[in-house]
Structures are given as C-alpha cells and as structure tokens.
C-alpha cells in the first residue's frame, strides 16, 4: 500500500467510486461542476477548492451546479434522499449553515422519528470547517458542536486521507443524514490510501498514538497538533495517548473511557468555540462515567470565546497550538492524585 494521495484526492475518489457503484448517488452544490451556463470550459472549477474536479466528466448530469440558494438545494437533497436517492450536498463552508439549518436539523434529522420510523433520509452534507485560511469570522468556524447536539444527525470529521476516504464512502452508504466535515487546512495532507473501495464504520474512534501517562481526546486538525505535542512530550519522557474521535455522533465513548481508565488523565482538545463544545462534552461524559479513574482534573484546550480573527497573527494565536496542548498535559501531570 504505497500510494500516497491528499485528503482532497481521497474525498474525490470516494465520491467517484460511490457514484460509479451506485446510480442513486447524485451530487449538488455551488460550482461543484463549475462553468454551468457559461461559454468557457465546463467543469471549470470542481468546487471552490477543486475537490470535485473531474467528476462531471465521468458522471455528467448526476452532478448539479446550483443557484446560490442553500436552503433550496440542501433541502432538495434531503427531499431526494427521502425519495430513494443518495444525494451528497456540498455546503462549501460550514459557516453557511445559518441560511439552511432548518432543512438539516428540523427536516433531515427528524423525519425518521417524527414519522414513526417510516422514512429514511440517506443524505450526506459535505462542508469545509476550520480556521487557518485567513478567511476570517464567517469562513473559518468549526460549528461541529451545533450538529453534534442535534439528535438524528451523524457527524464525521476525518483527520487523514485514509480516514477521509473510508468514512466518506461509509457516510454515503449510511441510511441516516451525515454531516461530513472536511478541514480545509488538511486538504493537502497526504497519506497512504488503498485504490480500492473500503469503509470505516461510523462511531469508531482511532487511537492514533498509544501512551500510558495522559489521554488526549480530539478530532480533525487538532489530531495533528496533539501528535506534535505528544512528540515533544515524549522527549520529556511523557507518554501521551492520542484518541482521534473521527465521528462525533455517534460517539465512541468506550474507546475514550478505556484510554482514560488506562492513563487516569485527560486533555480534551477542540478547535470549536469553547462553550458547549466537543471538549466539554467528552470531559463531562468522562467525569460522569469514569470519575474514579481520574487522577487529576480534566484539562480542556479550545480557542478563546471570540469569533475567528482575520489577521494572520491573531488567527495563529486563536487556533490551539501544540505548545498549549503540551502545557495542558504537563499540568494534568503536576496535579497529583487528589
């Protein structure tokens, strides 16, 4: 398994393979083809950052450019899903959820329950998340906690090319609505990815580094910052275990609890705003279900409670860095067993 491709390519390949396999998979979004109705090149964009480039040439009218009407086309994806298709809707930036959230959280998420189990809505909503692009407050948010809060949704956020492909294929095949969060600052990251199709189950966390002293639980870009911190700490003789949640809903709490039971110390790292986020969620669940295993207070690392700033200087201060994570780990170790 020597082939290395980027996360961007892994996502493209996942969509391509599923569209080839299953004619009910269709895709819609703004400029996901690119060039619709113009006299230049069709398939000119392939999405704002080129993730879907080339798919139109292979799958033609099963990819649809949309007007700039997220409520209408995300809702259309939801409606088509309720009528037997497996649509993938691209929301470009997750920050745009504010103009179409109803179709996601009151419609897609609730159909099955409200209709007494008589509907299924296999829709995938792909969106870019995260900071670091100098794209400022309205194009840099995580917002993962908002979707995780909603019963009826599944929420996925991969951190590697391998996971991106396997989780996206699973998400497309999954019979529930899935919010698939792609960190824009990870698109270029490369990793080994099989050429053949494969799936990774939703709701299975991944222990990306084993260690016995402290558990870091995180996801997305922060997995890499946490691994950097772990590498630094290893030089100090501190063995950190890093758990990549991969899926935020359903949550693989068992893997988290196992890790904390082993290490007795927990640092939760989340790039989302600090109030009611994934870090608080994990911390709370651990302090409820594994309190007796804890040797010290839980540490949480998140950005400050402010919008994402534009200035690169500020944005770099905003995003949790490996230094802050390493400090938190040291802090949990300094606090002895009570």
């Amino acid at each position: 398994m020597a082939r290395k491709i980027s996360i961007k390519q892994a996502i493209n390949e996942a969509i391509d393979q599923e569209m080839t396999r299953d004619p009910s998979v269709i895709m819609m979004g703004e400029d996901i083809v690119g060039g619709s109705g113009s006299f230049g090149e069709m398939d000119a964009w392939g999405g704002v950052l080129g993730v879907t480039k080339g798919l139109y040439a292979k799958h033609g009218s099963r990819l649809l450019d949309t007007p700039l009407s997220e409520s209408a086309y995300v809702g259309a994806a939801v409606g088509a899903a309720a009528c037997g298709m497996r649509p993938i809707a691209e929301l470009m930036f997750i920050d745009f959820m504010g103009v179409c959230f109803d179709q996601i959280f009151n419609q897609a998420a609730k159909f099955r329950y409200m209709f007494g189990g008589k509907a299924q809505t296999p829709v995938v909503i792909r969106a870019m998340v995260g900071a670091g692009f100098r794209a400022a407050a309205q194009h840099s948010q995580m917002l993962t906690p908002l979707f995780t809060h909603i019963p009826g949704l599944k929420v996925v956020c991969p951190s590697s090319a391998y996971d991106a492909k396997g989780l996206l294929i699973q998400s497309i095949r999954d019979n529930d609505p899935v919010i698939f969060c792609e960190h824009k600052n990870l698109y270029a990251m490369e990793g080994e990815v099989p050429e053949t199709s494969y799936t990774i189950p939703l709701g299975e966390a991944n222990v990306v580094r084993e260690g016995k002293d402290v558990s870091i639980v995180t996801y997305g870009l922060m997995v890499h910052r946490s691994l950097e911190a772990a590498a630094t700490l290893a030089k100090e003789g501190i063995e950190v275990e890093v758990v990549d949640l991969r899926t935020l809903s359903p949550l693989d709490l068992d893997t988290v609890l196992d890790s904390v039971t082993k290490t007795g110390r927990l640092v939760c790292v989340d790039e989302a705003s600090p109030r009611c986020n994934i870090a608080t969620d994990i911390s709370a669940l651990v302090s409820m279900h594994a309190f007796s295993a804890l040797k010290a207070g839980i540490e949480m690392i998140s950005p400050p409670h402010c919008p994402v700033p534009f200035s690169p200087t500020l944005e770099d201060l905003y995003i949790p860095g490996s230094d802050r994570i390493a400090d938190a780990v040291r802090k949990t170790l300094q606090k002895g067993k009570k």
């Binding site: 269709i26 099963r62 649809l64 949309t66 007007p67 009407s69 409520s71 209408a72 086309y73 995300v74 809702g75 259309a76 994806a77 939801v78 409606g79 088509a80 899903a81 309720a82 009528c83 037997g84 298709m85 649509p87 103009v99 109803d102 179709q103 009151n106 419609q107 159909f111 099955r112 329950y113 409200m114 209709f115 007494g116 189990g117 008589k118 509907a119 299924q120 019963p151 009826g152 599944k154 999954d174 019979n175 529930d176 709701g203 359903p250």
Partner: protein, 327 residues
C-alpha cells in the same frame, strides 16, 4: 340516464365527493373533540379548503410525491393516507400514522407519496424539489407538489425553491393555498404583490389563479400544469383562493375576522355545497347518492375516533426507537 358533462366519470366524481366529505367531517369532528379537551397540541383544520387539495391531488398516483404544511389533514386524506391511522396519530396513540411520535403537524406516509405535514413554514418546497429531482432521474413521468399558505409564501425557503425549480426545470408544482390569513395577519398586509401570478413570473414560472372553492376549476387548472410537468415542461405555480372555516388553530378567537365572514363563507362558498349543486343539477349524481356517502363517511370518522380512543398509548420502550436507522 343524462350524459356526463364533467371531466370525470361518475365513479370518480363520487370518489372525489367522498374525499372532500371525509376531509370535512374529519375536521368538524376534531373541532368538537378538541374543544372537549380530548386532543393534545396544536391542530390546524382544513375545513373550507377541501376542493383545493382534492382537485389537485386526485390527479396523482402513489409514485407522485407531495410535501404539505401545518394544515395538512386534507392533503393527507386526498393523497390516500389511512384515516384511521391519522386519527390515532392525532390522539398520540400507537398504530398512528407515525406511531404517535409526530402528531397533527407531522403526519406522513411515504408509501403513499406523502412526505409529511410540516411544522416549519415553507419547508416543504425544497423537499418537493428534491422529490421532483428524484423523479427526473427515475424518468417515469412522476411529479411532486408542495403546498404553501399565502403567509408562508414569503419564506425565503419557498422563494429560493421557485428559482431552483426553474433552473433545474423540475417537475414540481407550487400550490399557494390563499385563505386570506396567516394566523391573524391578512394576506393583503403580508404579501407585497397583488397577484401570485406576478410573483411566479418573477421567477420565470407560469402562474395561474383559480377559485379554490370550485372543485372543477381547480381540477382543470391543476390537470393542465401537472400534465405539462409530467411531459418535461417544468414547474408552475397555482394559486387557489380559498377560505378557512375555523380559526388559525383550534382555540383561536378570530377577532381579527370581520363579522359574518365565516357564516357567509359557509353559506355561499362552501366547496362541498358547490360541488353537490353542480353534480346534482346536471343530474349525473342524485342527492341520495351523496347522502349515502355522507352517512358512510360519518360512520368512518366515528369508527376512527372510537378506535383512536381505544388504541394503546406508546410506552417508554418507544421513546428512543427510530431516531436513526442505525446508531
């Protein structure tokens, strides 16, 4: 036997009458039972508007989809959802159309192409676009219809959908059920344009306005645009001017309505009376035949209430089932 001047056979006319009468009696009965305190939650009745839903939906088959509104009972019945299951649902019972989990505002039956009543105004429009898109890929001539009130026609979700349907040339019909009010606010206050035909034109869609209390007017207009949609001719908007016999929801004192408005409507623009007059005056159907239907409908409704009251309540075991297909 007199010749039939109507666009439907006698059997179909009787079916249509039965549908409208079933809706009427369903709603009249809910009105009574609600005021007795038997029915929980918000209930929005469709009485007065029967010819609209029926005149349109009698053109559809199970493969055609509809996305409805908070005022959805009439659409459900006209689309073939089982009346007994609806009544149980409204009573919050097991065996209801949604096993008691949805209630009046969320009755759905996907097997009948009924994608759900909806508690969110305008939300049905994108869903119907999606159903129409799916139909386009299936390519069997199926269509989708969404209903929206005069008030909800101002929701961005609905307006965006008009554009999307045009851009994708979807086989979808947007039906504006204009009953003059959104809750207590009048259509003339809340909609900035005089004619919904002009609103449709603002999105490049053909629009047509009909008397929604005249079954045959609705039937004909709907037939035309549905045929066009089936043949790939794209979306249309159909405004049906109609009237709400009850309050916005049960419990509404309706002091915003001018005196006599409802009495007048019940006397002079009752779609069921109109229909009965039309078909009997032509001698196609006898008053006795209609009365027989009335009787059997009343029996059906009574039966549905009795069974709904007798049906078991959901239990704790039901609380967390059917959130996901798998989790």
């Amino acid at each position: 036997m007199p010749s039939n001047p109507f666009p439907l056979s006698k059997e179909r006319l009787l079916e249509v009458y039965r549908t409208m009468r079933t809706i009427r009696e369903f709603e009249e009965r809910l009105h009574v039972d609600f005021s007795r305190g038997d029915i929980p939650g918000f209930v929005h009745l469709y009485a007065g508007e029967e010819a609209t839903g029926t005149g349109i939906l009698c053109h559809l088959g199970d493969g055609d989809r509809i996305a409805s509104t908070h005022r959805g009972h009439g659409h459900c019945i006209a689309k073939g959802v089982d009346v007994g299951a609806m009544m149980k649902e409204i009573y919050g019972k097991k065996g209801g159309a949604c096993n008691g989990k949805g209630g009046s505002m969320h009755i759905a039956d996907l097997s009948k192409g009924m994608m759900g009543a909806n508690g969110i105004l305008g939300a049905g429009a994108p869903l119907a676009c999606g159903a129409a898109l799916a139909a386009k890929y299936r390519n069997k001539g199926e269509i989708a219809i969404t209903f929206v009130g005069d008030g909800a026609s101002n929701q961005g979700t609905f307006l965006e959908s008009l554009n999307l349907a045009g851009v994708w040339n979807l086989p979808v019909i947007f039906v504006v059920e204009n009953n003059g009010y959104a809750e207590s606010t009048s259509r003339d206050y809340a909609v900035s344009v005089d004619s919904f035909v002009d609103r449709a034109a603002g999105f490049g869609l053909p629009g047509i306005t009909v008397d929604g209390t005249d079954f045959f007017a609705v039937y004909e207009a709907a037939g035309e645009i549905i045929r066009r949609a089936r043949e790939g001719g794209g979306p249309s908007l159909l405004e049906c001017k109609t009237v709400r016999f009850f309050g916005h929801f049960e419990g509404d004192a309706q002091t915003y309505r001018p005196e006599g408005e409802i009495e007048n409507a019940r006397a002079n623009i009752d779609c069921l009376k109109k229909f009965a007059a039309q078909v009997t005056s032509q001698g196609v159907i006898s008053a006795a035949e209609l009365e027989a239907i009335d009787k059997s409908v009343l029996a059906l409704i009574e039966d549905s209430v009795v069974k709904a009251k007798a049906a078991p309540l959901p239990t704790e075991a039901d609380l967390t089932t059917d959130v996901y297909v798998s989790y």
